[in-house]
Amino acid sequence: MGKRTQIPTVNAGSMADIAFLLLIFFLVTTTIETDAGIDRKLPRENTDPIAIEYKRKNLFPVWVDGEGRLLVKNERIDLKELRSMAISFIDNGGADPNHPDYCDYCMGLRDQTSSDSPSKAIITINTQRETEYGVYIAVQNELVGAYTELRNREANRLYHRNYTDMEEQYQNGQTSLLVKAELKKNIRYLRDLYPLNIVEPQQ
């Protein structure tokens, strides 16, 4: 009567072994994927390329040779200088204050011999077939970085936050549509202030 039937417990001692086995399997098969990079948009295909005339002062040609040396405005420079040179070129705002191109938010030197306004300023990357891809990416990175720095500056002035943060929030799936619409408008505006004009002319 007083006997209690005891339910036998399952021995969980081997649980750790099984879990370890699975763990090791996943550890071995895991590859942390690299899925980040520099986004660029290629120009549309046109059957007969048009040669567009630009004022020489609005051009910022970057030449990269087969050995990875950089030539900017007929001067050999170091990659470390490229970003600051690009910024001072884009942000120069050399147009006359009465001219429609005049850029009132630019903080550059207003040098008459450099670019008129950010929307007029064009950066060209000329590479040779022998140029190494790594160098090309470094140049692209520095030039995109120059634009991002300028957009960040304007974003801080207008919206008191970084342009990169705004983009990140826009990309985030948890952001509400209302906030997204507002962000989109602001991001567009910042992009219009400093449009990314990096071209690769065909020789």
């Binding site: 750790a16 990659l79 190494e132 891809y133």
Partner: protein
């Protein structure tokens, strides 16, 4: 004194009952972050570093093109000239266009405008080949390109 003498001097065993829990925790972590490899790489693929990078968020709209020197075990057969790898096969330059288009058609229609070409190019590749690839992509109208890189200091690329 006598109180101490009574004490058992053997150290009690550490309980391992919580070990499975810890291991399971690790297991779940790895299970959730794991991305299964979908194609075998036949080319060396040491990507360059960059800092101004954006993440490729959604995997379903990415078309990857690998470029680089053939693997060490394939060098005796194929030489050291950089090759293009589409899916898991080597391909000729002229096959890029058809490959991209066929990948696009297998995508849901709503995603096609957002398709991104992820160029995973070894840092030692010469720009000539990249220019040709970009030209091929332009002819089929695949204009959104992501130069996939590692996150890091760009000045290391020059070494």
């Amino acid at each position: 004194m006598s109180k101490f003498k009574k004490n058992n001097t053997t150290v009690p065993e550490v309980s391992t009952a919580s070990l499975p829990d810890i291991v399971f925790m690790l297991l779940f972590f790895f299970m959730t972050v794991t991305v299964m490899k979908d194609d075998n790489l036949n080319v060396s693929n040491e990507l360059p570093n960059a800092s101004e990078i954006k993440k490729l968020e959604k995997k379903d709209r990415v078309i990857t093109i690998h470029v680089g020197r053939p693997n060490d075990r394939l060098v005796p057969v194929l030489g050291k000239e950089p090759r293009i790898q589409l899916g898991d096969k080597f391909a000729h330059l002229s096959e890029i266009g058809p490959y991209v288009l066929s990948r696009l058609t297998s995508m849901p229609e709503a995603l096609r405008p957002y398709a991104v070409i992820s160029l995973k190019v070894d840092r030692k590749t010469h720009m000539g080949l990249i220019k040709d690839i970009k030209q091929e992509l332009r002819t089929v109208g695949a204009l959104k390109v992501n130069y996939t890189t590692y996150e890091g200091d760009v000045f290391q690329n020059l070494e």
